[in-house]
Symmetry: C2
Subunit: 350 residues, 2 copies
């Protein structure tokens, strides 16, 4: 038995699969933000020469996968399985990218939690000996998401101050058994929670309880404290959700503020007029696979908890007076050989 | 290393996880069909007391899971992970069922291939030692699928003769390490194929090439012939797709006709006016977990290949002149201790 089950939601991956390479491609707005230097490619426009936002999103995804392959000096035939999902109905972006890649494919739907959902399944495939190299990826597109979940951007509707901005871009990671990058040592699979939010603009508040619940269970399952991490990154809680998450943790004695940062507060600058922060599947994927992994490489981080958060929001169900279910999956990244770490959590907000 | 990788797409599961129990709940039309006796529950109407088709679908799913739990004498807290997906945008049926069940959840999107996609991931979780019991499930609802993918049924549009009828219902299976039911010995993960179909009524033809490709690769990876199986069940190719699948196989020297049956040709009778056969995530799930597993129990089958087929159809993408990507995942069920087998493939059509 390789993957020991700890407590109710966590597996310890005894062989510690590692992230061999990543690929991150983002849109122009993300390229104007403070993390620009950490991304492999910034597109000049958000259509990438495609006839629609949906096909542009899939192009981001495909490009991110090709970047990851190129950096690992691998081709598609070296990848045993591809795990991908996105926000579009029927995960259209991932399906089209999977068609172009031609890799045996597991389609996922975890909304903005897809990044860690895919990483959990991918790292178990390596740890269990089912594959030599696998790829996990996800994408989102601001304009595609807006017209599917809210209003077409052409409508020019006013966004409330707590609304988050869906990231345009994609992130991909190749996971392998070789010890060549940050290792995945523990994975915690989330449960679906719903604390009664039905406002499709307030997804940070909807997801905060799921993030709190997954963190609490992760710490209990692994018998750890938040201080066992250099940093804890939530996916896309934004300003409102991050504040709620910290409050829920602190009310329960989990002093997370010193360690916590949110990918949705890192990718855009305060001058970029995104209101409540960033969101979208690509938010945690681009920040983690771009910025966080660079911190590992630079030995500024040696142990981080990545908790991508997802609002499993279906507009038709909300019209039927059902509130929004949410989920959060967590993955521990650690760099056993590194030292000289520096706490990068804290009160950063963008 | 537990899960040996064979060829390009197949894993051999050395510990052979087994199906401990299943739960199958269907709608009234499915209850009037020839397989009625194999289902655990037939609902009197297709709303099940819910205010919408979508919520009714999720109720089918939840009920199927509860049936499987009841038959295994387990509760939700005995299940380590829940793998589920469906056809609804953002897999709404699965998300709501996962919320009620409270089991750590992996959301999947594989359209009508979800049944085997979930079974592959679930059986690997058991085989890899990550869990003691897991549950894989899927659902569909005729009226919910019609209004999302084609036209609301109230519109009364004429269906072409090759159109398939989406099954209302759900199937769930509990997979465990105990040797208590048919074992899962090989799993073959599909690649996304697209042979250029854009007619949302002709999904059987769209999926047939994916089924052929997965069968061909499965046989090559495992160095087997179709005659190594008592029966080969495709998911929901229907009349048109089944005929195309057999032709593609036979043109390639794979004499599948004697062994092949299609879940989409089994669930409804010829008097039920479903035109081209059945489809939907619940098609392969209800037929496999109801009927096929009963054949194993009765020793009429000892080795079968289950190949759920999925059209990864997104109406918006098709409106953009992109054709429909498809996929097929295969799982080998075998009952090592059984004898007295009987070939149940062949030319049955419904």
């Amino acid at each position: 038995m390789r993957g020991k089950k700890l407590g109710s939601q966590t597996n310890r991956l005894l062989s510690k699969p590692s992230i061999k390479s990543t690929g991150v491609v983002v849109g122009p707005k993300e390229g104007q933000g403070p993390l620009s230097q950490y991304f492999d490619e910034v597109s000049q426009d958000d259509l990438l020469g495609m006839p629609s936002w949906e096909q542009a999103e899939s192009t981001y995804l495909y490009k991110a996968c090709k970047k990851a392959l190129g950096k690992a000096e691998l081709t598609t035939s070296d990848i045993d399985f591809f795990y991908s999902g996105d926000l579009l109905n029927q995960t259209a972006s991932s399906n089209l990218a999977a068609k172009k890649l031609g890799i045996p494919y597991f389609g996922l739907f975890g909304a903005c939690s897809t990044m860690t959902e895919g990483l959990i399944l991918a790292s178990k495939a390596i740890d269990g000996g089912y594959a030599n190299n696998v790829m996990a990826a996800t994408s989102s597109h601001n304009k595609g998401a807006e017209r599917q979940f809210r209003f077409p951007t052409e409508y020019g509707g006013q966004r409330p101050p707590y609304a988050q901005w869906t990231v345009s871009g994609a992130g991909a990671a190749i996971i392998s058994q070789e010890d060549v990058g940050p290792q995945i040592s523990y994975v915690t699979t989330g449960k679906v929670l719903d604390w009664g939010i039905s406002d499709a603009y307030d997804l940070g508040s909807a997801m905060a309880p799921a993030a709190y619940d997954t963190l609490k269970n992760h710490l209990e399952d692994t018998n750890q404290q938040v201080s066992d991490y250099d940093a804890i990154f939530t996916g896309d809680l934004g300003i409102q959700g991050s504040s709620m998450f910290r409050e829920l943790c602190e009310d329960d004695g989990i002093e997370v503020a010193m360690y916590h940062n949110d990918c949705g507060l890192l990718i855009y600058g305060s001058d970029q007029d995104v209101h409540g922060g960033a969101s979208g599947c690509a938010c945690s994927a681009t920040v983690t696979y771009g910025y966080v992994l660079k911190l590992f490489e630079q030995n500024k981080l040696s142990r981080a908890l990545i908790m991508a958060t997802g609002a499993l929001h279906n507009p038709q169900i909300v019209q039927q007076n059902v509130t929004i279910p949410t989920i959060c999956h967590a993955v521990v990244l650690e760099n056993i050989s590194s030292s000289n770490n520096q706490n990068v959590g804290g009160d950063t907000s963008g």
